[in-house]
């Protein structure tokens, strides 16, 4: 929802529109890991994650005007696009494969050694891992597998109202916990 746009995001958008190669490389350096990480998390396929990362940045460079800093911060916007691309990629594969991925990811967020290891990253991953399992399942199915809440309800064999509630409740709990730990909109993931 509309908030105060970030000055850096505005400058970045202007730089990209002006065709500044330096701005492009700075954006890649700042957000490449986030975009690649989400694409990999959703697809579980390194080649696909690399292709998606390339597509996300090529599109941003071709049409930087599509990014509207008043609607979302650049990082959040890129996260959402990487996630959508990842979900589309998975959807194109057979349903069986999709179910296998979902089952694997339901366990927990894999924390691989080479994931970026700042305190902020760890705090979020721990907070997600600490959610009650039914809540975590709902978030994973919706966020990483692209299921609607109705599909989440079917997948978990629960009423639709419960699926909606679990999703909202899980995000509220995470938000409350992380804000209590000092997170705000400027939290640095470095």
């Amino acid at each position: 929802m509309p908030g105060v746009p970030d000055d850096n995001d505005i400058r970045t958008r202007e730089g990209l529109i002006a065709g500044s190669e330096q701005t492009l490389s700075e954006v890649y350096d700042a957000y490449g890991p986030v975009v690649y990480g989400i694409a990999l998390q959703v697809t579980n396929d390194r080649g696909a994650a690399e292709d998606i990362t390339q597509d996300v940045f090529v599109d941003l460079w071709r049409r930087p005007d599509r990014f509207d800093p008043t609607r979302a911060p650049l990082r959040g916007w890129l996260c959402m696009i990487a996630r959508r691309r990842g979900i589309d990629w998975v959807r194109r594969r057979c349903a069986q494969e999709r179910a296998r991925l979902a089952a694997m990811q339901l366990a927990s967020l894999p924390v691989e050694d080479d994931m970026l290891a700042s305190t902020a990253y760890k705090q979020v991953r721990r907070a997600v891992a600490d959610l009650p399992t039914p809540h975590r399942q709902a978030v994973f199915l919706a966020y990483y597998n692209g299921l609607t809440y109705r599909e989440v309800a079917l997948a978990l064999n629960i009423p639709e109202g419960t699926a909606k509630w679990r999703l909202s409740s899980a995000l509220r709990r995470l938000g409350a916990q992380l804000r209590a730990e000092g997170f705000d909109e400027d939290v640095a993931f470095r």
Partner: protein, 324 residues
């Protein structure tokens, strides 16, 4: 939606795009309801944190693949139109970022591996920092070594150089600086910046070779800048090493990105143009590696026609133009 129309439990599904049928009505409602707008903003933030928490360093080669693919769809606006200082600063910054990315993922024991002509990657970075310092000092910067971390010390100084050059432009760019390398040559700082970007790229290549990563080529414009920078120095360097050929010149046909045809005097003749006695044909990028001393002098992969002696003297001296 509730009876009053509030999003309530649809807020969560809405921010993860899990309620396509209701999304429009939630958005319409939130645009007039500060309470729901605030909740959606808060939950969107949480979703962004979840997304960011899975960040992972992409494979090293992906950066140049992504940047080239992007620039192939839409060329950069000619950064040449930007002030010269900003251009030189941005080229340098790109190479600094490439090398820093390589170093950032380096496990501690790898710092002791030999790289290029250096005994260890640690020594290579210390050497690079020392060469950069010539420019830092000329620019009036004094970046002390505040930690024992060689990567941090190098990187901090390099970014300070990029910043001051981008900010000040001329007349800083006119200030004389001693170039890095075995000959004590003074040139304007603008040329020293081309040399800094050049050396930083070459050392990143050294590290890539040590780590068995594929080589990378700089932008066509950077290759062209390196070639021109070196060709300006070569007549004097030929004379200094006793390999000048007075009143003679050589045609360089450089192929590939950053290439083109250049005539080079084989001695510092002043205004009188020498007679072209030989031609050397090779890829421009390869010529840059030769300049850095990274190709065997006996196998530069160059096609030579005309006077072989003159061409070989030229290549021999060219191969000593590096900063090691």
């Amino acid at each position: 939606m509730t009876d009053e129309g509030h999003a309530d439990d649809l807020a969560g599904p809405y921010v993860v795009e899990a309620c396509p049928q209701e999304a429009r009505s939630v958005a319409d409602h939130a645009s007039n309801c500060p309470r729901c707008a605030a909740e959606i903003a808060e939950l969107s933030q949480v979703v962004e944190w979840i997304g960011a928490s899975t960040a992972k360093a992409p494979p090293p080669g992906l950066r140049s693949r992504v940047l080239s693919a992007a620039l192939a769809t839409r060329p950069a606006s000619h950064a040449r139109d930007a002030p010269e200082g900003r251009w030189l600063g941005s080229v340098y910054r790109i190479q600094v970022a490439e090398l820093d990315q390589l170093l950032s993922g380096l496990p501690q024991p790898h710092w002791q591996l030999a790289a290029g002509p250096h005994r260890s990657i640690h020594d290579l970075v210390a050497h690079l920092r020392g060469n950069d310092q010539l420019v830092a000092t000329a620019a009036g910067l004094d970046i002390g070594t505040s930690t024992l971390d060689i990567r941090l010390n190098w990187h901090r100084q390099a970014l300070a150089i990029a910043d001051v050059v981008a900010r000040d432009g001329s007349p800083l760019l006119d200030r004389p600086v001693r170039l890095a390398g075995r000959r004590a040559v003074q040139r304007p700082l603008r040329e020293a910046m081309i040399q800094r970007s050049f050396e930083t790229w070459i050392h990143a290549e050294d590290v890539r070779a040590t780590l068995d990563l594929p080589p990378q080529t700089p932008s066509a414009q950077q290759v062209a800048d390196i070639v021109d920078f070196a060709l300006r120095l070569l007549p004097t360097a030929l004379e200094a090493s006793g390999r000048a050929h007075p009143a003679k010149a050589l045609r360089m046909v450089l192929t590939g990105d950053g290439g083109g045809i250049r005539l080079v005097e084989l001695s510092p003749t002043g205004r009188r143009a020498g007679t072209v006695v030989a031609e050397i044909r090779m890829p421009a990028e390869r010529f840059c590696r030769l300049l850095a001393g990274r190709l065997g002098a006996s196998s530069p992969g160059a096609e030579i026609s005309g006077e072989r002696g003159a061409a070989n003297d030229f290549l021999t001296v060219a191969a000593t133009m590096g900063c090691d």
